[in-house]
């Protein structure tokens, strides 16, 4: 069902098919890029794991990062909210700019940055607090104590994450009592509660069953109206279903980046085609 609607949607949405080259720039000139990446290199100690990445991530669209394990797609994703800062020996070169500002410039407030760039992890990681307190966490550390604002935000975030109806009667129950799929949607709601501009998702459905996965995918599809979403996935069909743009990574390099339809129907690079058709990976 999702496949049908999504496919139908993608034919209409991916209208400007001017992208004949594998240029990093998005085809749509009316939609300026939210995130600009230029010659971005990443090192763990001495080993270089990302080589000269260049791409533009469009605003309020879903960009999927695909590629075999260890290709650097997660590392790249975690570079966008500087979560890699906590890894000892990590070092970057080059530019990632969010809304025109270099994220790695000196004096950038990493804490403030992470409030603008939310993240959902591969394994759902709710705090061992109530459902309510999980969602309110981001607001509370932001110093908001007003019960009314908290209540409203919790409800709105849970509704956006399509979890409200399932949990509205037990907001004070432990978040750990929820099912795996619910926990992951709770984590999405928690990230949405601080009202980020960008949402990074690191294989958000890889540990979930097909039905829970479908819910997450539908959610991603709806969220792109308000958020710029970057999603790492191992599941090619998922990338095809939910994303507008797809970047194919391999061995730390960006092999091809284009409209999702182009990547899946008519890739320019032989390697991309081989990967997508399952010849390796």
């Amino acid at each position: 069902m999702t496949i049908l609607t999504t496919t139908g949607e993608f034919v209409t949405s991916a209208a400007p098919a001017a992208s004949t080259t594998a240029s990093p720039r998005p085809a749509d000139a009316h939609n300026p890029p939210k995130i600009v990446v230029r010659d971005f290199n990443f090192f763990y100690g001495e080993s270089k794991v990302l080589h000269g990445i260049e791409l533009d991530i469009p605003e309020k669209q879903v960009t999927a990062l695909i590629g075999p394990s260890g290709c650097g797609k997660s590392t790249f994703l975690r570079s966008i909210n500087r979560m890699n800062d906590i890894i000892p020996g990590a070092r970057v070169e080059g530019l990632i700019a969010l809304g025109g500002k270099d994220l790695y410039a000196p004096h950038v407030d990493v804490v403030a940055l992470r409030r603008r760039v939310g993240m959902v992890f591969q394994k759902s990681n709710p705090f061992s607090k109530s459902i309510y307190e999980n969602i309110a966490y981001g607001l509370r550390i932001g110093g908001i104590k007003d019960r009314r604002i908290l209540d409203e935000t919790v409800e709105r975030s849970l509704q956006r994450a399509a979890l409200w109806d399932e949990v509205k009667d037990r907001l004070n129950a432990s978040a750990l009592a929820l099912s795996g799929g619910q926990q992951q949607r709770l984590c999405i709601a928690r990230a949405l509660a601080v009202d980020p501009e960008v949402l990074l998702m690191d294989e958000p459905a890889s540990a979930l069953d097909p039905i829970a996965t479908q819910k997450i995918e539908e959610l991603v599809y709806e969220l792109k109206d308000n958020y710029t979403i970057v999603i790492v996935t191992h599941n090619m069909q998922q990338a095809a279903r939910v994303s507008d743009r797809t970047a194919f990574f391999m061995l730390g390099k960006l092999v091809e980046y284009d409209n999702t339809r182009t990547i899946f129907m008519n890739p320019k690079v032989k390697l991309t085609e081989d990967y997508i058709t399952g010849r390796f990976g």
């Binding site: 100690g45 001495e46 909210n81 979560m83 906590i86 000892p88 020996g89 070092r91 804490v111 403030a112 940055l113 992470r114 409030r115 939310g118 993240m119 992890f121 394994k123 990681n125 709710p126 705090f127 061992s128 607090k129 966490y137 981001g138 509370r140 550390i141 932001g142 750990l176 009592a177 984590c187 928690r190 990230a191 601080v194």
Partner: protein
């Protein structure tokens, strides 16, 4: 088919291992049984609520119970915050990769940007290693040495100097044995247990949770205060209680730092001396003018001391098992 001597060796090993278990249990049963049988008889309402009388051959142990409780509470107030803070620093703020790796990373970083940061990382890892071995060594120091240290450092040095600064000449208030200095001395003895247990509890908090918090724009301290500490609280409390219950039974550290031979009144201030159950046992068994008359009192005192320690341990175990069942729900 097993050869004969292998079968014999097998039987022999099982017998030996089983025998050691039986011996351990038997020793415990004899000691505890003896104390319980004789002790219960001595424990009366009068025994628990009155001060010793007639040269310690009659009366109760009320000042010792109160003194022990006050000492343990005061010691916890000193030891737990200090121990938890040290453990949080060691586990959350010093480099997780350890000294060797941090140093190697610094050495190979010649000419690369961010080398200064790697140097500070290595220095911090060195500090952590030094602190950890200091803690381990502290745990190995005999308790009588803590007692002498308490006398020399807290009373003779700190206490005397406070007196010199605040009291009229010749007056001694801080520069003598007291609840406060005994509690501080005992806290030093308890610290390693608290630090090690807290670090262990912090280790059980999944890295995922820290990342989730940081990704929401929390600072490291907010992450520790709102996520890491609440998740590890019961582990920390268990460790703290076990450490405290060990400290509660120690006599040597308080011998020179404030325990009193005999006090008919209760301590009213941290500068007062106090009676202590463990010390009272020592006094009853070595200083009594009438050994036979003292015997029931001695049994009763040991029984009360054991019961208090057991209660503390039980609290620790209950907290731990509650957390476990919550984790597996």
């Amino acid at each position: 088919m097993l050869k004969g001597n292998r079968r014999v060796a097998d039987k022999f090993a099982i017998t030996l291992l089983g025998a050691s278990v039986v011996i351990i249990v038997a020793i415990l049963v004899v000691i505890v049984g003896n104390i319980v049988i004789h002790g219960v008889r001595a424990v009366t309402w009068e025994f628990l609520t009155q001060a010793p009388r007639q040269g310690l051959t009659a009366g109760g142990i009320m000042p010792a119970i109160v003194g022990t409780a006050a000492l343990v509470i005061l010691m916890s107030i000193v030891a737990v915050p200090l121990g938890v803070a040290t453990a949080v620093y060691l586990h959350e703020y010093t480099p997780a990769e350890g000294l060797n790796l941090a140093w190697r990373r610094f050495r190979v970083s010649k000419g690369l940007p961010g080398r200064r940061k790697l140097f500070f990382r290595a220095a911090s890892a060195l500090l952590a290693t030094v602190t950890r071995s200091a803690v381990a060594n502290l745990a190995g120091v005999p308790s009588i040495v803590f007692g002498l240290f308490g006398l020399g450092f807290f009373i003779q040095f700190i206490g005397r100097n406070i007196d010199r600064a605040t009291q009229p000449p010749g007056e001694v208030l801080w520069g003598q044995g007291s609840l406060l200095w005994a509690a501080c001395t005992l806290a030093l003895l308890t610290l390693p247990t608290v630090i090690v247990a807290t670090e262990e509890a912090l280790r059980t908090v999944p890295q995922d949770l820290r990342e989730a918090s940081l990704a929401l724009g929390a600072t490291q301290w907010e992450t520790i205060r709102r996520v890491v500490l609440p998740s590890s609280l019961s582990g920390i409390m268990t460790g703290a209680i076990l450490g405290i219950s060990r400290g509660a039974g120690e006599v040597a550290p308080i011998l020179f730092t404030g325990a009193a031979y005999y006090l008919p009144y209760l301590p009213g201030d941290v500068t007062d001396q106090f009676m202590h159950l463990g010390y009272h046992v020592l006094i009853l068994s070595t200083q009594s003018p009438d050994v036979e008359a003292t015997k029931p009192l001695l049994y009763g005192t040991v029984f009360v001391l054991l019961a208090l320690t057991f209660l503390l341990n039980l609290t620790g175990v209950i907290i731990r098992s509650r957390t476990r069942s919550r984790l597996h729900r």
